[in-house]
Symmetry: C2
Subunit: 510 residues, 2 copies
């Protein structure tokens, strides 16, 4: 498929007249063709109005139609073949194995949502029979089900050019709920976005869905994001990216004359706690696993373990030595963009300038970024907020806390997290249980003896957590639970079958 | 029980040093003893810290303990006996029948939540088995469940001194989730609040729950609400009241360094649509039902039908005449407070000054407020935003739209709603079905041939809706669904039974 540098509005492609952008090869720094003109306000309005019109038609079509569209999108993405992987590799410097895996995840999650809505599990049907004889008042017949919220704005993320981008998790969840989607493409992979966007367009066409079910907008400056979130036709927002970006969108949404919900997945250090017996018995293996997980994808996963607490002394030196060996030999790919690389190098330099006990540096990538680990004691960690926030990229902090009790006062420094992990032997369970209960209040996913990178797409997954992990801990952005962000409950009281939605009439009184 | 005019912090009662307030008899205007001093910032801090400490202990105790506390509260409220109804009557001018019904609803909903959490249905257990042989990567074992969000701030409403106040729906839902509650008492019924607050205190004591599970604060000015929502220990907010009040709290919550969710139930006109056959066949009965519903509780229900569209001509004159007869003969009780009465009279005067086709006025209550109905044509309604917003009190608007199609352009003027009702005969179904599908996107509850006042507390109820009905249409503030506001999902990956919460271990792998 030839890239045209076009905005996609419904089934059309057209040039954007606003400030242009291009993809950039993160390895060589060269700009990539074509040039993508930014969407005008009028183009954005048109996309949102089309979405509104599509919404009225498509939401009535029901789960089978919604499922068919999701499956058609998965197929069209597969039809793109290696051209998609090649373009994504060019724009992100992510390797082919990773991108193949990410594509498989993207199509699998489209199909998982298709299965969910075909089965109707997301509708959460509830029924209360009428009690005409009840005193003092009779009870009416009541039914409940979930309906889509309306057109959803989706902001693609840079670090998952497929799975959290144009046809990624947010888009899949919104379409599963019957909601049209207007995507703001991430500037870091415009060509990948166009390819996937045209695949979605083809699926919309082949399914006979209203064309407004999907539009894809580009914009070099931040105004376009603000316009989109402000637009009265947009009813909810899905975002994956920086805390500053997510906060800004949440503020805009809250300031609307009719505020709308924003689900922003933003920032997490994903703390890891290594308990004494695990540390003594497995320090080498845990160090190797940590080095692997924190540098995987050049450390650009939202679930990268960025902070590890050693809760014992025995094995701590061995751990740090093993980690040093692992890191020093380790090279990563260049970061996703020059901006991310620059920020990472600045953050690492600021950290290095602090008096850390030990500073471990790996091999520099082509863009000058190298994996970095900072080893601290508990006092040093507690005293400086620098160590408490996410460092996006292959950087991490190891805190020698000495014993499980010493970590308690340090927890208050940690904000909400996507994940928290404990490494334990059975002898550690007694000491670990109270910490796990506390981590439950701080994170969306808790792992035992495992690394948080790698997020399973399934019913039980929670990719969420208290702020700043996300803007609303009551939701998840991965797994079937993610559809809840884009549905709302509606109750029908004494409603004749003729006036019920088809699926609710079919659900009956069970 | 003697009223002491005290703030309740955990198991203590103490005087508040800030600006004082007193209950006022809405009928005679006389002030009621005792005097309630406003809580100081230090007292509020103490309540929030106690809540935080209680949270760590109580959330681990599980559903049976949480249920027992809810049931003990219901019993202690019943122990208050007629003294509670008398004080509530004095402070609100609501009649005894209404207050008895409201008390029954309050205790019933505490017991409904007790049943819910004893059964564990709110935990939404999910399980995905490990797939160790899966390629390219094995799947870990994953479990999911819902946990409480932490201490919740609850703002009592003036119009339901029992059911949406100190131990009302928000408090019941939060306690059901294991969350401690800090209540800001509504200034309009401080004595009722103290009585119920002491009942909750007694239940906390008798259940051996940590004392911080409940505190009750008074405050004459708005600072105390802001302090509460800003407080770092508070993790969520439940509010029922005005749009201005709910918006203000939402802004404060969003501006925190760690934003928290606010569920505010605010404003709704609850439109009613009378289709041609129903209008022709039942104009008298529908007019009588409308007059009854819009004046019930002096029109101070959030589900009061404040706007009715006549979608036919035949029967429309009869309807308006019948309504006039009903309204002119109808007196209501004085409104809940002098402030509400003054606002209602001002709103009605402003409406009367507009060129309405017909203005129907009922009997003036002791405070000078009288039921008011304004009859308009569609053009008049569309042209003036005055007619689109809630008029709190016994006021309503009737729009003679003439036919079902004429209502379509008027819907855009309507914001989000708690309810929408259609009156139909079977011959109207074909015309009504498209409107019902559209109302689905605008309201939380849709009724056929029934009035929206009277909200059933059950599994299928949705008391919610798009803004400004609530701040987040994805939730309900009535019924078992209401607990979702105060829980969040947590996923456990490869977690040994010893480190799982008790209930999740017991839930097993089903």
């Amino acid at each position: 498929m030839e890239l045209r540098g076009e905005i996609l509005i419904g089934l059309r492609g057209e040039r954007g007249p606003e400030a242009a952008l291009q993809g950039v090869d993160p390895i060589g720094g060269g700009v990539l063709l074509p040039v993508y003109g930014g969407a005008s306000r009028a183009q954005l309005d048109r996309a949102c109005e089309l979405a509104w019109d599509a919404w009225a038609v498509w939401r009535a079509r029901g789960g089978a139609a919604h499922a068919a569209l999701l499956e058609a999108i998965a197929e069209e993405i597969e039809v793109l073949g290696d051209a998609l992987l090649e373009r994504a590799g060019l724009e992100t410097a992510l390797d082919e194995t990773r991108l193949r895996g990410e594509r498989a995840r993207t199509t699998a999650q489209l199909r998982l949502f298709a299965q969910l809505v075909r089965e109707g599990r997301h509708l959460e049907h509830r029924y209360d029979a009428a009690l005409p004889q009840r005193t003092p008042l009779p009870r009416p017949e009541l039914r409940m089900g979930q309906v889509g919220v309306g057109p959803v704005a989706v902001f693609g993320a840079s670090n998952f050019p497929l799975a959290f981008s144009v046809a990624g998790g947010d888009t899949a969840a919104a379409l599963a709920a019957g909601c049209p989607v207007v995507v703001k493409a991430h500037n870091a992979h415009p060509g990948t976005s166009e390819l996937v966007g045209r695949a979605v367009q083809a699926a919309v066409r082949s399914c006979g869905a209203p064309e407004g079910m999907f539009s894809l907008l580009y914009g070099a400056d931040e105004r376009i994001g603000a316009w989109l979130v402000e637009h009265p036709r947009i009813q909810a927002v899905g975002f994956t990216g920086s805390r500053a970006g997510g906060d800004a969108l949440a503020r805009i949404a809250a300031a609307r004359s009719r505020p709308i919900p924003v689900f922003a997945e933003m920032s997490s250090v994903n703390p890891v706690f290594v308990f004494p017996h695990a540390l003594r018995n497995r320090s080498d293996a845990i160090a190797a696993g940590f080095a692997q997980s924190m540098t995987q994808g050049s450390g650009q996963f939202c679930t990268k373990p960025g902070l590890l607490f050693l809760l014992g002394d025995a094995g701590a030196d061995t751990f740090v030595d093993a980690l040093q060996t692992q890191i020093r030999e380790r090279a990563t790919a260049p970061l996703l963009s020059a901006r991310i690389a620059e920020r990472f190098r600045a953050a690492a330099a600021a950290a290095a300038a602090r008096s850390s006990t030990r500073h471990i540096v790996g091999q520099a990538a082509g863009d000058g970024s190298a994996p970095q680990v900072f080893v601290l004691d508990a006092r040093e960690f507690a005293a400086d907020p620098l160590w408490h926030d996410e460092m996006f990229g292959p950087g991490a902090v190891v805190v020698r806390a000495g014993n499980p009790d010493a970590v308690q006062p340090l927890l208050e420094a940690l904000a909400g997290q996507l994940t928290a992990s404990v490494f334990v032997e059975p002898e550690d369970y007694a000491a670990a249980a109270p910490l796990v209960r506390q981590l439950e209040t701080m994170a969306g996913r808790l792992l035992m003896n495992g690394w948080p990178t790698g997020v399973e797409v399934c019913d039980s997954m929670v990719h969420g957590g208290p702020y700043p992990a996300t803007s609303d801990a009551r939701f998840s952005s991965v797994g079937t639970l993610a559809i809840r962000r884009f549905v709302r409950p509606v109750c029908y009281q004494n409603m004749a079958g003729e006036l019920l939605p088809d699926w609710l009439r079919e659900a009956g009184t069970a």
